[in-house]
Symmetry: C4
Subunit: 192 residues, 4 copies
């Protein structure tokens, strides 16, 4: 089986997830600048989630560069990742409407952890499918980046109940770590 449709379907779902979040930015009642004020936390939350979905799209793109063919396991591991990513819009909206309140920020962190775990599972399923000579396995010797991310997410979730803005800071650091697409894969692809 070829990977073409898996990529096309994932692109479609990610494009919808990233754009659906805009629907939450409801237009203000009046035309004064002050009427825009309640949009500010929603807008900040939108920027943040846009970057996160963008990161996942970039890394998904890199990940499947190494993949030659797909099987049933990869299809489902990919759908599992898309499922948790589809929780991003609602988590974003909860943050935005409550103005970065404690529980919503914690929930957002939980969604991020679940996405990270789903991504890691997808990597493992691909490596198992490819067997001994997996290019991906070669590219990701250690899962340092993945492990550090999960630690920061957990720190963020724990902090969110006391200082939600600091929690956002932790999530932000993980975003920065991943903003640069996976050089390990780019490097490995070049070497082969």
């Amino acid at each position: 089986m070829t990977k073409g449709r898996l990529e096309a379907f994932s692109d479609g779902v990610l494009a919808i997830i990233i754009t659906i979040m805009v629907l939450e930015l409801k237009v203000p009642e009046g035309s004064s600048w002050i009427s825009l004020k309640p949009l500010i936390p929603k807008f900040l939350a939108y920027i943040f989630s846009f970057i996160y979905v963008g990161i996942y799209w970039n890394n998904h793109h890199h990940l499947f560069q190494t993949v030659k063919k797909v099987n049933g396991g990869i299809l489902w591991a990919n759908l599992h990742l898309l499922f948790w990513l589809s929780m991003m819009p609602i988590a974003t909206e909860w943050i935005g409407t409550t103005g970065f309140a404690e529980n919503p920020v914690a929930t957002y962190g939980i969604v991020l952890v679940l996405c990270a775990i789903a991504y890691s599972i997808l990597e493992n399923v691909i490596i198992r499918c490819e067997g001994e000579n997996s290019k991906l396995k070669e590219a990701i010797h250690s899962k340092n980046k993945e492990n550090i991310s999960i630690i920061f997410y957990i720190l963020g979730i724990a902090t969110s109940f006391f200082y939600p803005y600091i929690a956002i800071g932790f999530y932000y650091i993980v975003a920065l770590i991943w903003l640069i697409p996976d050089r390990r894969i780019e490097k490995s692809l070049k070497d082969n």
Copy 2:
């Protein structure tokens, strides 16, 4: 005519169907955990339908692996399938908002039956188009899986008027049967 655009269009529609269902998970008013409570049945219904649409996408993917070229009949049989699948979001929402009530669960079952029939029609139209040496015909000697599914759906619909949760159990069994993508097609493709 090539199958490329039929696949791309179907991927697009399925990606939208699967993601539109998230829009029904309306964000709670407050930021307390209790305010999430009414979301629980909606969330369970979403998971269930996500898996079902995922199953259809997987099997659609497998089905068209065997197809070389398409004609007007296949285009319309495919649109017919997409039409019934597009009823999934509204059926899901009705289950979610009523908390798995009798009529909504029965309606959900009816939508599932109509999707299954539409899928079966699509299989038949493809086989008729390909003629004698149809790879798909070879792959699906018997339609056992299809027939068992319809029996379970009908059992589910009948049960739903008395015990909606048991009805969901019947639908769940069918999902498990199909969760494993169609090995018959994978096997047949390998043999050729």
Copy 3:
């Protein structure tokens, strides 16, 4: 310039148009069968529009089979067609919520005429771009189907102010004429 992205973008827009219409089928308040009653006209309108957008997708698919390369004129003629097709969801909703009232049915007919004209313009722009040996020109000697459609639409619009259901009948006849994808193009492609 290749036609790949024009097809992909059109598939995306058409997939969204066809699926957005489902969002108008708002879930009933209660769980009784009677609560489904106001959905009936909306559901009928949805079926009708689904078929119409399906027809346009099929014919668009056929149309671009003959096209080798695209220019700026074709890009804009295509966007013009997509613009009028994007009016289908709102026209459908107006029919559905008013239960096939006079003005909405007339408006629906006007949208159908504008789509038909936009499609015809797209055909002409493609033929002009391809020049003398246009395969499409060969395929469509006469524009009988196009002309008959517009006559029926106008009859429908005129009738809609007195008997909206008869107007829908006229629109339905045009749908039947086009339901069979454009054999003229299929035949012409085979001959070459």
Copy 4:
């Protein structure tokens, strides 16, 4: 890395942005013609934004014709452009619901400027990635069109606080300048 998925993802996002704007055209309560009246400014705003997103899609299409391979920088510059384009629906809705009021028209202009800047950044990142022999650099000797556009946008924003309709006129002139897809790129592609 190939550009295929970047194009597919961008097509998806642009298709959703262009179609989401239709959702703002809420169906009128009654079935009289007068009930359509509040839709008129929204409809005009929709046409305007449809053309603008169409222009960006056309130019994006032209831009990536020259690109052979993509890197992380291009992926992010492209996401940055998509982010500002995703602000179009909400800016359009604000114009439409307030009937072309001062602040909304100014905001619309600001969004247009930010899209133009993001497009310009994307061009620069592509040129830097391609290095000395960049086809795109050759095609765009001077950035006259880009610079004139930004001047007109700023004129529009300044005017919008006094005469919003004249501001729309300025934005309209820029649309006319770009309506014709980038001949510079078409010409350059032909020469090579």
